[in-house]
């Protein structure tokens, strides 16, 4: 680092950087490398056999596929939610605004039980949905419901401040130039919101991939159908198969990293007009 003598109001760069590095190591890096190290005790063939077992592969598909779908649903509805909260004034707005954070605060097991009770065959909603052929609880659809529930606040809370900064004048300018409502939304509003929307999407996705508590209640956990990867890891642990559990954990870790990198790349691309300044 430069040793320039610039005076700052709050000194202590070495101290705070040191603290940051120690903290990051203790809390994040050491546990993660432990996972890798533990799985190293396997030979390559053994490792491959564990992570490519059909039941495991199908759990990846369920975990990542449904998480992506849930994050995509949240991106759309979270945007609408944020729009309503920013642009309109109506009675009870502050209550709704506060309720958005509920999935953040609620213990996931509570959410799981509540959703299961609602959507089960004899639940308030389930009793009407099941005769229509829509079975939600104990199916992959139930997982989607749970993951959508827990991911909503991420999109709303990241898009909301950007929408608040978006001047109405931009829409008025677009309209005065002859743009219709669709063109104004797609060409003027959405591009400005895209970076925030992608951040919200990434956060909701990351949260959904890691979600365990609420899903296991509603999923039914049928192998090959509605079993998520975190549950498989727990199952292996319960069977004292620590190495097997870490092998699957490594796959999840790498997948998650790759996806977050991709989303980061997208964000940089969407932000290009601001990065160049």
């Amino acid at each position: 680092m430069s040793r320039s003598k610039t005076h700052r109001v709050l000194p202590g760069f070495p101290l705070t950087l040191g603290y940051t590095l120690v903290y990051l190591s203790l809390v994040v890096l050491i546990p993660l490398s432990a996972v890798f190290l533990k799985s190293m005790s396997l030979s390559l063939e053994e490792f491959w056999a564990i992570i490519s077992a059909p039941r495991v592969v199908s759990s990846y598909k369920i975990s990542f596929g449904i998480s992506l779908l849930a994050a995509a649903i949240n991106a759309v509805f979270g945007l609408i939610f944020a729009w309503v909260l920013v642009r309109y004034h109506f009675p009870g707005k502050r209550i709704i605004d506060a309720l958005v954070d509920l999935p953040f605060a609620l213990p996931t097991a509570v959410a799981g039980i509540a959703l299961t009770a609602l959507y089960a065959g004899n639940g308030w909603l389930g009793q009407w949905l099941e005769p229509l052929g829509l079975k939600v609880a104990f199916t992959p659809l139930g997982i989607l419901v749970a993951l959508t529930f827990i991911g909503l606040p991420f999109v709303v809370r990241t898009v909301q401040p950007v929408l608040e900064d978006l001047e109405m004048e931009l829409e008025e300018a677009a309209a005065s130039l002859g743009a219709d409502r669709g063109q104004t939304f797609w060409r003027v509003i959405l591009p400005v919101l895209t970076p925030a929307l992608l951040t919200g999407f990434a956060l909701a996705f990351a949260r959904a991939v890691g979600e365990y508590g609420s899903v296991i209640f509603i999923a039914g956990n049928v192998p090959m159908v509605s079993e998520i990867t975190p549950l498989l890891i727990i199952t292996k642990l319960e069977q004292y198969d620590y190495v097997g559990a870490t092998a699957i954990a490594v796959v999840m870790l790498v997948f998650s990293f790759i996806l977050l990198f991709l989303i980061n790349g997208l964000q940089i691309w969407a932000n290009r007009s601001r990065v160049r300044t």
């Binding site: 931009l170 300018a173 677009a174 309209a175 130039l177 743009a179 219709d180 601001r274």
Partner: protein, 376 residues
Amino acid sequence: MSIQVKNIVKRFGDFVALDDVTLDFPQGQLVGLLGPSGCGKTTLLRIIAGLEAADHGQVFLEGEDASKAHVRERQVGFVFQHYALFRHMTVFDNVAFGLRVKPRKQRPNAESIRRRVQELLELVQLDWLAARYPTQLSGGQRQRVALARALAVEPRVLLLDEPFGALDAKVRKELRRWLRQLHNTLHITSIFVTHDQEEALEVSDQVVLMNRGRVEQIGAPHEVYEQPTTPFVYSFLGAVNLFHGRVQDQQLQIGADHLPVGDSGFQPGAEALGFVRPHELDIDTNLADHTGIEARVERVLALGATARIELTGASGGTHRHYEVELPRERAAVLDLNPGQIVRLKPARMRLFAPDSPSAERILPEGSMTGIYGEGI
């Protein structure tokens, strides 16, 4: 294209923004809407553009009633105070926006869009910045891009809402001159809103003075400046000295002093307010005569071609403040010193009845001291 507004009324809650405004904006002119903040000028502009709906009244564009038409259908170019450029688009894409959102049948092909945008950017002298993003431009450049963008769709009228309001003084002056030149080449009917009287007087063909949701006066810049018809216009367009007294025998009687007013049309004994610009006052060091107002010199500021003299009223016990502008030579002859008692003699004065509705608006209750707008 001509614009007419008829009997426009607009309320925001209890606040009356526009109170029965009827105006006619002639073809090809650049009209300045001038007034203090909150006088309704921006609201009127937004109603003409269709960005705001009037509670009552009509807007005619080229003689046809456009009151119900959507902004998108009115073909008006609107320039916002804070530019409202699309920040995720380059300068080129911003200007091209209006052409690209046209329905497919009317949309020019990519090549003619490119040519048109190039032309417009040359017109605003920014063709070398086509590939930049708005955040990389200065305020003055952004506003010129905004203007090019508004002109791209060949609007029938150009509406500018405080277009130079967010810029610093030097850039404002440059852009003002530039806007005037641009209007001389394009001759598109334009209305621009400003609270800066210097800007309005310098740029416009016609000035519309507004106050409290009403039109006070309409006229060419020199007309409204030389012949204000209301006390509001008098004090808004430059500094003014106020004399409050009674009309008696072709004189304005103020305490022991009196000012000649000629045939004023006021009833004898009627109260009246005399308005005099600082350069219309002369100073007399001979105190023997009772004509002219007695005042004490407070400060003499000799800067540039004129000397500004600040005085306070010497008689009557009230603290009236006066301001006089004299040519340097005249000030040198008088050789005034602070503390000296002199007489003020107006070369020209306009009288208004103090109870006329405009007069009471500009005078704080109970105080009849001289007031000054910003010097022009």
